[in-house]
Amino acid sequence: MEPEVQDCHQSIIQLNKVSFSYRDQQVIRDLNFSVKERDFVGIVGSNGAGKTTLLRMIVGLLPAAEGAIELFGTPIRKFKDWERIGYVPQKNAFNPLFPATVREVVMSGLYNRKSLFKRLSRQDQQKCDDALEVMRIQDIADKRIGALSGGQQQRVFLARALINRPDLLILDEPTIGIDAETQAGFFDLITHMHARHHMTFLMVTHDLDMVKDYLGESPVSQNGKIQFFVRHSHEIENCAEEDLQHSLV
């Protein structure tokens, strides 16, 4: 018999009986799901399965029709610590002709409710330099974002998501429209980060093959057409020996 692993991690995302419908079509029904600290969760489903809807509810972009969503133990309506969340959007979520340099985009990860009306400090510049260095994109820092390859653009968005050293990293179809080799490289990068750093991952993808090597062949649960794959933190290292130092570099 395997020894019982003590769950010493706090709940990062909690969904209780969450439902959502588009007009008459119910896409999510009575969903109960919990993401614990340092888990890596893959939300997998085909187009139209409702995974992006679910993600938008989790980050507060869509209100749940029924049920309750909590982030870090706080009901989503009252949640204020948005800097604890890093968000990597779909590659096609931005206008490639937008006049912004890599540095400007990465820096925008620091803009939140708490930084309203505040000027960027030298410390903020340093955070940006660190994020650029971690993602190895410092040599393209002054290039226009639209001039980069799909893989480079995703590294830029990852750097932006990481600049605040978030506790939860949310990735929405991060490799859509990117070639297979770059996809594999990107996935290696984030699984490596999951193994090394004190961070929780929630990734939406339609590509089952990409996640099953890391998250296992079988989903831990299913809701409609959405499947949930999880690699728990205790599968990485023992909680008791865990180094809680939160560092990126």
Binding site: G60, L61, A93, N95, A100, K143
Partner: protein
């Protein structure tokens, strides 16, 4: 011939033009990048309705136009929410409403038609001290708000979802940009005219998007281009007795064509 450049009315026109030359592209950048270029046209049509009403009830026309434009900006945001997937619908509805109201007020006060015409095509040489104070006040407000919220407006324009996930007050910021647009448009119509104000909001931005690499440089460049067109256009209009608003806009279009011919496609590196 050069005497006109030193006359009081020309100096006032220059001051008004230079101030609008700053604010129009500053706000226009956020409109163009959020694909709301037509909002300037809509608000200018509504402003004309306010101006017409101002003449009718003998209230300072630009102030009446400004009130109409701000009210219209609230209505646009409301309609944008109601028809989320058809954002341009709100623009079409409010624009036609503005034209209808303007037409109604036109017919109710047939005697002042020539005054209203000056707001349709601009009459920068008739700027008085009150107009200059009005433009200066709007310029201070626009520069202050954009300076305070520059980085937040950047994120909103670049990726609205990311701005929401960062906890930024996205609805309030959208509203603020629309209200600032209303302020700029209502004060700009006497300078370039309601039918041409959209050009001042969008063409300098269109040129800077061809040339600039970063967001900051594209904003600075759009203001420089706008000032070149406003000052150059006013000088040319003054010297050759041309319509100033039209000269400014045609100069902007000429600059755009020259830039496009000078570059084959967008600067992407």
């Amino acid at each position: 011939m050069l005497d006109i450049l030193f006359s009081d009315f020309f100096q006032r026109a220059l001051v008004g033009g230079v101030l609008i030359g700053i604010t129009a592209p500053l706000i226009g950048m956020f409109l163009v990048l959020r694909r709301l270029s037509m909002i300037g046209d809509t608000l200018s049509h509504v402003t004309i309705a306010g101006v017409a009403l101002g003449f009718l009830i003998e209230v300072y026309p630009i102030a009446a136009g400004l009130v109409f434009a701000v009210l219209a900006s609230f209505a646009i945001e409301k309609l944008r929410k109601a028809y989320k997937s058809y954002a341009e619908l709100s623009i079409a509805i409010i624009m036609s409403g503005g034209v209808a109201l303007a037409s109604l007020f036109f017919t109710l006060g047939m005697g002042y038609n020539t005054d209203v015409m000056s707001y349709l095509f601009g009459s920068i040489y008739t700027l008085d001290t009150t107009d200059i104070y009005m433009v200066a006040g709007v310029t201070v407000v626009v520069i202050a708000v954009v300076a305070l919220l520059f980085k937040e407006f950047f994120l909103l324009s670049f990726e609205e979802d990311a701005a929401s996930v960062s906890g930024l007050p996205v609805k309030m910021m959208n509203m603020l940009i629309t209200v600032l647009t209303a302020l700029v448009v209502s004060t700009a119509i006497k300078i370039v005219g309601a039918l041409l104000v959209s050009a001042l909001l969008t063409i300098p931005v269109a040129i800077s998007l061809l040339l600039a690499r970063s967001f900051r440089s594209s904003i600075i460049l759009s203001v420089i281009i706008s000032e070149l067109a406003v000052i150059g256009g006013l000088m040319m209009a003054g010297l050759f007795n041309l319509a100033p608003g039209a000269t400014i806009v045609l100069l902007l279009i000429a600059l755009l064509v020259i830039t496009m011919l000078g570059r084959k496609g967008f600067t992407t590196t």
